[in-house]
């Protein structure tokens, strides 16, 4: 009798301890995902259909790309609010160049390549300006990228006059936007490729390691002989680079160049990172969690669409989730301190 009375609470305690441990180790994301999946599985009937899941995966690609980019600067204790207008400018420059070159009589493939390169150049150009501002002139990342948002958005609208650009070669949209390989959309393949690339970059290269060190302790990194200025600059370029790839894919999907797309990405990408456990103060965060964070956000949006929740209400829900994630992370830090040994 005494035995069972003692055993029972320890088993319960063990379960509780286990749950806490998962929370402390992996953060709030596994629980968020679990709750979302259960809720949508119960309330909708086609959530688990193959078609819908593929849809979620495809829609996630753009946000995954931006979030991976955002993660790079967050690691250095910075942030990039200009990822949204990168979409706008890249879309505009890519489409205009492509249309111009194609109309000038160039081969279709050549026109597509030149268009993409021009877009890529424009996007990474924004990153270089961000990087110079932050690393060389020590403008706070928040100010620098916020100001750049205004500047670049203005430029994108000036170029287009606010109207969409049509007339790109069909192949561009057919391959990069709607194409499939082995039954899976091309954008998903590209994104998987970049996830692997980013994973190797962050974990197996010197620069990846330096990004973590930089955000963890700038001064110690400097004293360890690392050129902090150069790597800070490069962080913004890499962010812009990978965001730009996402922007080109979205341009292909939309089959037009638009000066006002991407507005939601600064918030959503930061949300994906924070929900995925990236610290806003730099130095910590794992790529797989960020990818899952981005998928989670799209999953929630998708589920809400299926439930016919209005897009206005969806904005409210995403905001609430973001705040909850931060509160949960604070709590997790506290637990971490308590469970130190």
């Amino acid at each position: 009798m005494a035995d069972t009375a003692q055993r029972h609470p320890t088993a319960l305690e063990r379960a509780e301890y286990f749950a806490t441990l998962i929370f402390v180790r992996a953060g709030v994301l596994p629980w968020f995902l679990l709750v979302a999946i259960i809720v949508f599985a119960i309330t909708t009937d086609n959530f688990f259909s193959e078609r819908n899941l593929m849809q979620v995966a495809r829609q996630s690609t753009y946000l995954i790309m931006v979030s991976m980019g955002q993660m790079v600067v967050l690691l250095t204790a910075g942030l990039d609010l200009s990822v949204g207008v990168m979409f706008a400018l890249v879309s505009v420059i890519t489409s205009m160049t492509m249309v111009g070159v194609w109309d000038g009589g160039a081969a279709t493939t050549g026109a597509i390549l030149i268009g993409c390169l021009a877009g890529f150049g424009a996007g990474t150009g924004i990153g270089m300006v961000n990087g110079i501002g932050v690393a060389v002139f020590r403008v706070p990342p928040f100010m620098m990228t916020l100001a750049m948002s205004s500047i670049v958005f203005g430029i994108a609208l000036m170029i287009t006059g606010g109207t969409p650009i049509y007339g790109m070669p069909d192949n561009f949209a057919n391959v990069l936007g709607y194409g499939k390989g082995i039954g899976v959309p091309i954008p998903i393949w590209i994104t998987i490729g970049f996830i692997i690339l980013m994973y190797v970059f962050l974990n197996w290269t010197r620069m990846g390691r330096y990004l973590y060190a930089l955000g963890g302790n700038l001064k110690a990194s400097q004293l360890s002989g690392i050129s902090t200025r150069f790597y800070l600059f490069m962080a913004y370029v890499v962010t812009a680079g990978i965001t730009t790839i996402g922007a080109i894919m979205l341009t292909a999907r939309l089959e037009s160049g638009e000066g006002n797309i991407g507005k939601e990405y600064p918030l959503l990408s930061i949300a994906a990172c924070v929900i995925g456990g990236v610290s806003l103060f730099g130095g910590t965060g794992r790529l797989p969690n960020v990818v899952l964070g981005a998928i989670f956000i799209i999953l929630v949006q998708n589920g809400m669409n299926l439930l016919r929740i209005s897009s206005y209400m969806q904005l409210v829900v995403i905001g609430i989730l973001l705040i909850l994630a931060v509160i949960a992370d604070n709590y997790r830090q506290k637990l971490l301190l308590m469970l130190r040994d």
Binding site: W204, T205, R206, S221, Q222, L223, S224, G225
Partner: protein, 525 residues
């Protein structure tokens, strides 16, 4: 005794009678998760005395005063104030009871004025409106009473460290305490500011206030202490009057070992000169016309108080300070020459030449606390062939090399994948030291390598310095820890306010000879 806190400031004979026990702690214990920070400690403070609380970091000093100041609640034992048992609920409650603490970290708001800071959280009001005239009058009174040359309307951010400390003291003093606690108050003060602080403490003491003074610096004890209580690992070791406190005895009480067991004997085998500094002047003249040299195979001390410029000198050689004049030669190459506009300094370049600077502040400048041991140790050397090829890191190699180093340094626990913040101070320091081991280093500059480490780590670091020196490296040991200078180095330079005051050889180094140059001005006075 009804209102003891108010009575003390009046010149009542009772308050001034030294020897009245104000506060006594009996069998005080404090259990933190996983550690017993205090184990049945007895401690008391009398009116008009400075009772020094002495011990290494982690000995329980801070925990003890935090309990007295109301930050923590004790797990066991009793506290008597004026003979009556009490419970202290909060910092605010402690203040009401007449216990005020001046903590190491200032609790001042830089943008507010002296006056506003003094009354922060306790403003006098008339209805909802601040009673500014009464505030100004009371602030003036408090400052005058203490004789502090401060203007109540000055913004705190423009004051010197010592003046800010005066504000902090005035703030603690304003509530008319019977007991004042000072937690390592000289940690960031210059020598002149320290003098000023000590005379203040004398003054407060004469008011009949009991003072608890926490330090781990032995030379301060003799200057202001009346009694000394030594803690080690949360246990009360001994309480002795200051007359009985010799360095030897204090070190033994503090560490539980005799001095000879702490400081290893290092063979001196001087070879070619590695570092030659000539007439160096740094920006703001923190270092003024100083020349020193260090050879391979010897340990050279650079002693002096905080603010004497000794640290600036070490940092300048690594390229971390702006230099205004002079010449630096390293390993036969001129790396800095003001006259010829040569400047090849900088962390990356000096690391590659074989100079390694270990900063004093491991949290701020030394380590990435949220990364693990492996990543920290490898950080300065990732560019080397053993850690990476042109594109990728060689993580298996990295693991092997770092594991060897961790073993060599006796890292506890021996887990290189554990984040730095989960190690004790001493083991963090070992990691900081370990970072230098990956590279081929010819000269090590240690900047206060044993600040805030326990005696075990201290011994490990000294033995490490010995091994480096005997393996043929040069060591420059920048230190304000007197025993370290007395027992470890082969020769030492002493700096005083940016200038080089002396160069002493091993045979000439004694407590008197070094201290004489530490406090030269005081001796003349």
């Amino acid at each position: 005794m009804a209102e003891p806190s108010a009575a003390v400031l009046e010149d009542s004979p009772e308050a001034n009678a030294s020897g009245d026990t104000l506060l006594s702690l009996e069998n005080l214990s404090k259990q933190f998760p996983g550690t017993l920070a205090l184990d049945r400690v007895n401690f008391d403070v009398r009116a008009g005395e400075v009772h020094v609380l002495f011990g290494e970091n982690g000995a329980g000093k801070s925990t003890l005063i935090q309990i007295v100041a109301g930050v923590h609640r004790p797990s066991g034992g009793t506290i008597h104030l004026h003979g009556k048992p009490i419970n202290i609920h909060s910092v605010h409650h402690a203040r009401q009871l007449g216990v005020s603490a001046v903590f190491q970290e200032f609790s001042l708001v830089p943008h507010l004025t002296v006056e506003e800071n003094l009354f922060l959280g306790d403003e006098l009001t008339r209805g909802p409106i601040l009673n500014k005239r009464a505030l100004a009058r009371q602030a003036r009174e408090t400052l005058d009473r203490l004789g502090f040359p401060l203007r109540p309307r000055d913004q705190v951010m423009y004051l010197s460290r010592a003046e800010q400390q005066m504000v902090e003291i005035a703030k603690a003093f304003r509530t008319r305490p019977t007991i004042m606690i000072f937690d390592e108050p000289t940690a960031s003060l210059t020598e002149r500011e320290t003098d000023r602080l000590f005379s203040l403490i004398e003054q407060i003491k004469a008011e009949g206030i009991g003072i608890i003074y926490i330090t781990h610096r032995m030379n301060e004890i003799k200057r202001i202490g009346d009694r000394i209580t030594v803690l080690r690992d949360g246990v009360h070791i001994d309480t002795i009057p200051v007359e009985e406190a010799t360095d030897q005895k204090l070190v033994e009480l503090m560490t539980g070992r005799v001095i000879e067991q702490i400081f290893p004997d290092i063979k001196r085998n001087p070879a070619e000169t590695m570092l030659e500094v000539e007439n160096l002047v740094t920006a703001k003249h923190f270092v003024n016309d100083v020349s020193i040299n260090v050879r391979r195979g010897e340990v050279v001390g650079l002693a002096g108080l905080v603010g004497s410029g000794k640290s600036d000198l070490g940092r300048a050689c690594f390229g971390l300070e702006r230099i205004m004049g002079g010449r630096i030669t390293f390993d036969g190459d001129v790396v800095y020459d003001r006259a010829k506009h040569v400047n090849k300094l900088g962390p990356r370049r000096m690391l590659d030449r074989g100079l390694y600077y270990l900063p004093s502040d491991r949290r701020q400048e030394g380590l990435v606390m949220m990364q693990n041991v492996r990543e920290n140790v490898a950080l300065p050397s990732l560019g080397l062939g053993k850690f990476s090829n042109r594109l990728f890191l060689r993580r298996a190699n990295e693991r092997r090399v770092v594991r060897d180093i961790a073993q060599k340094l006796d890292l506890m626990p021996l887990n290189i994948e554990r984040d730095l913040e989960h190690f004790s101070g001493g083991n963090q320091q070992k990691v900081l030291v370990g970072k230098s081991l990956v590279r081929d280093v010819k000269l090590f500059v240690f900047d206060e390598p044993t600040v805030g480490v326990d005696v075990g780590a201290r011994v490990a670091i000294y033995e490490f310095i010995r091994d480096l020196c005997e393996a043929g490296a040069g060591v420059l040991l920048i230190s304000s820890d007197l025993p370290e200078i007395l027992h470890l180095v082969h020769r030492t330079y002493v700096m005083y306010r940016g200038e080089l005051r002396a160069e002493l050889d091993q045979s000439e180094i004694s407590e008197e000879s070094v201290l004489h140059h530490f406090f030269e001005k005081e001796d003349e006075a």
